[in-house]
Symmetry: C2
Subunit: 408 residues, 2 copies
């Protein structure tokens, strides 16, 4: 470490140099050079703070503040070091540097904890280089195994294992020991939405991370001349797709406000103004914190789509290509967070997370908490991602107090 | 001419060698090598039949069967020699080779006509190389002038004038003399739709060519995270576009069956499944034989679009980028065609043309007729374009008899 890092903002700015883009954004893909340099920089920072560091087999980086009781359990705090392409400098990074600063403050102020506290810089969450997400937390929690990365390639044809080996990590024996000492996980993250900003709340305490389903819907019709084909002879997949999306969005009104659905991608073929299309492919993204509600909604809209396809004489097929179950955060941890906020007179909002996080994988493995700070304009995955320093500090203070409550 | 052409099918197959593609389709773009060779081949064929040939300044090729009365007017018959990229061998070509065969039969059988009869191979109709359509008929009828091609480039950056000059034609003085001797135009063309096939009619007599309007509709919203943005906070341009197209297609029911509207092109940005879109651009193609109906429909749907944009909190702009007025075919010519069919006991269907044709430009210049033969499956602008030889022959016979009625 060349210079001392005092504030959370300094830490974020300092870490963003690894993978910094011309526009101020950050690209730090799993096992890339920027990624390796960022992990090594974190390690040397923790070393300089007398926090004991080590890597696991796959490149998750840990820093440990030890209890005097060697057999004590571990409270883990952290987030992911990787970013999307042209991402922001807060997403993931904030939870790691806040964890390191928290450990340092706790160590300075209170000495050794009763439970070990470890900070983890998880190697991967975004799924931006290889077609797999939450690799770091997935391996730690046993949700993923070696099989899940076998044969995976990035967009340039580099094999996952080759990239891992080149970065100095390996699963040569194809096994990974699931730890039994982790007694809790806390993730501090930017909200990536506008809820806290609009409600003017500095802290969000997450009660559940939504379950997700992503479908690809293909509607096939019959391409024809836009001028010479009477309307009642047409098998127009654009008409089919439009009626389906119309019905999908209208049906949301029958559900509670936690249900969100998005059609973000539409591809028309041949996509020519004076030609009735041959096919339309569109995506449906659905999220809700209750798996039962999610399943009922999905069954219902797929049934509607079939009916519309039948009525409009087009073919419809659906493919569920992404499925993540909802995850509830731990009641006790949530209570601790609320009490910490109350004590500090920090206004908080209990909410769901509409985005996926590492905490989602930990939730079925150990008591887990997820804590949000506001994102300006809700912008994320962009160089425009921003959280005001005051909010960053508030999140850090809540984290420090919570770790104190859980580990001292 | 190396060999004699006896049938219309032979003529079409022979001409398709100029610009023939690996899949059996034809690409013959304006002023290209294939185009030049095709025009020269037609000229040498007509020369071999003692039909007097000449080009105009821009490359329209004429063949003349002269009346003994030099001051007699001209009945013009023909269509366009150019094709779309990867087009079929019947579109345009049929009307030219049928015209040449008709002149030859009439000459052999009846000698000199009372009115001159000319066949024309119009240089361009499709608009596939340069962003201008009906260049050949447009100049002949005075609808287009030099100004319309000034500065135009093809997709490879070649200037329109340069291409014209390289093919041996020029508008160096920038003027083109509009002829005053043309007393009628007859175009024989494949239908490019399925109406005749479905009705099992070998001949279509066109009463009107529809007017066309093409709009580009841009809907702008606010891009956001699909998971973290509540439904009622969204400004989703996909939602806006879907409601607009839904309303557009539903409103067609209030009009007569001649009104057709098509959304063939949709572009979503950024087009990512888990991101609420930033903008959607889509096209609306509308056609009807009555200009008044067309205008009322367009005004009405644009008003609906504005209302929907307002209700869904998105921005909507429209751009009318293509406008062709409807054209009525000549009553007398139409009567002649009907009588010819009746005499020959050929079943015909009086219909509108949903596609544009050179005849559309001639309609305001001189009495004009447009005659269709069936297209198998309605397929056109494709190597699969096909009309059975028997239908080609029927069309030719009707053309011969009609020219006899009008010129002898």
């Amino acid at each position: 470490m060349e210079r001392k890092i005092d504030t959370i903002q300094e830490a974020i700015d300092w870490l963003s140099q690894y993978g910094e883009q011309f526009d101020g954004g950050v690209t730090r893909l799993l096992y890339s050079n920027a990624w390796q340099k960022a992990q090594e920089a974190l390690r040397s920072w923790m070393d300089s703070l007398d926090i004991k560091t080590y890597y696991d087999k796959i490149g998750n980086l840990f820093g440990k503040l030890s209890s005097e009781d060697e057999n004590a359990g571990v409270i883990l705090v952290g987030s992911h070091i990787d970013t999307v392409k042209q991402g922001g400098k807060y997403d993931g990074a904030y939870g790691i540097v806040a964890g390191i600063l928290a450990l340092n403050v706790l160590k300075q102020k209170y000495g050794s904890p009763k439970r070990h506290i470890e900070v983890v810089s998880l190697c991967e969450e975004e799924g931006s280089r290889f077609p797999i997400a939450c690799w770091g937390s997935g391996m730690l929690t046993g949700v993923l195994t070696y099989k899940d990365i076998r044969g995976l390639k990035d967009s340039e044809g580099v094999m996952f294992e080759e990239a891992m080996n080149d970065a100095g990590f390996s699963l040569t024996d194809r096994s990974y020991n699931i730890r039994s000492d982790i007694e809790g996980f806390i993730e501090l993250h930017i909200e990536q939405g506008q809820v806290l900003e609009k409600l003017q709340k500095p802290i969000g305490i997450v009660q559940a991370i939504v379950g997700q389903r992503r479908f690809q819907i293909t509607v096939c019709g019959e391409s024809n001349h836009a001028g010479t084909t009477p309307m009642n002879w047409r098998k127009d997949p654009v008409h089919g797709a439009v009626e389906m999306i119309h019905k999908l969005l209208a049906s949301v009104d029958h559900y509670d406000e936690n249900l969100v659905t998005t059609v973000g991608q539409i591809e028309v073929k041949p996509n020519v103004s004076n030609v009735i299309a041959d096919s339309v492919v569109f995506t449906v993204d659905v999220r809700h914190p209750n798996e039962k509600v999610l399943n009922i909604f999905c069954e219902s809209f797929l049934q509607n789509f079939k009916q519309i396809a039948y009525e409009l004489n087009v073919e419809m097929t659906s493919h569920l290509w992404h499925e993540v179950c909802s995850a509830e955060m731990d009641d006790h941890f949530t209570k601790v967070l609320k009490n910490v906020c109350k004590k500090r007179q920090i206004s908080y909002h209990v909410m769901n997370s509409g985005a996926g996080h590492d905490a989602q994988l930990f939730a079925s493995f150990c008591p887990t908490a997820l804590l949000f700070v506001p994102s300006q304009g809700g912008i994320s995955h962009s160089s425009l991602e921003y959280t005001a320093p005051a909010h960053l500090e508030t999140g850090l203070h809540v984290l420090i107090d919570t770790l104190y409550e859980l580990a001292y």
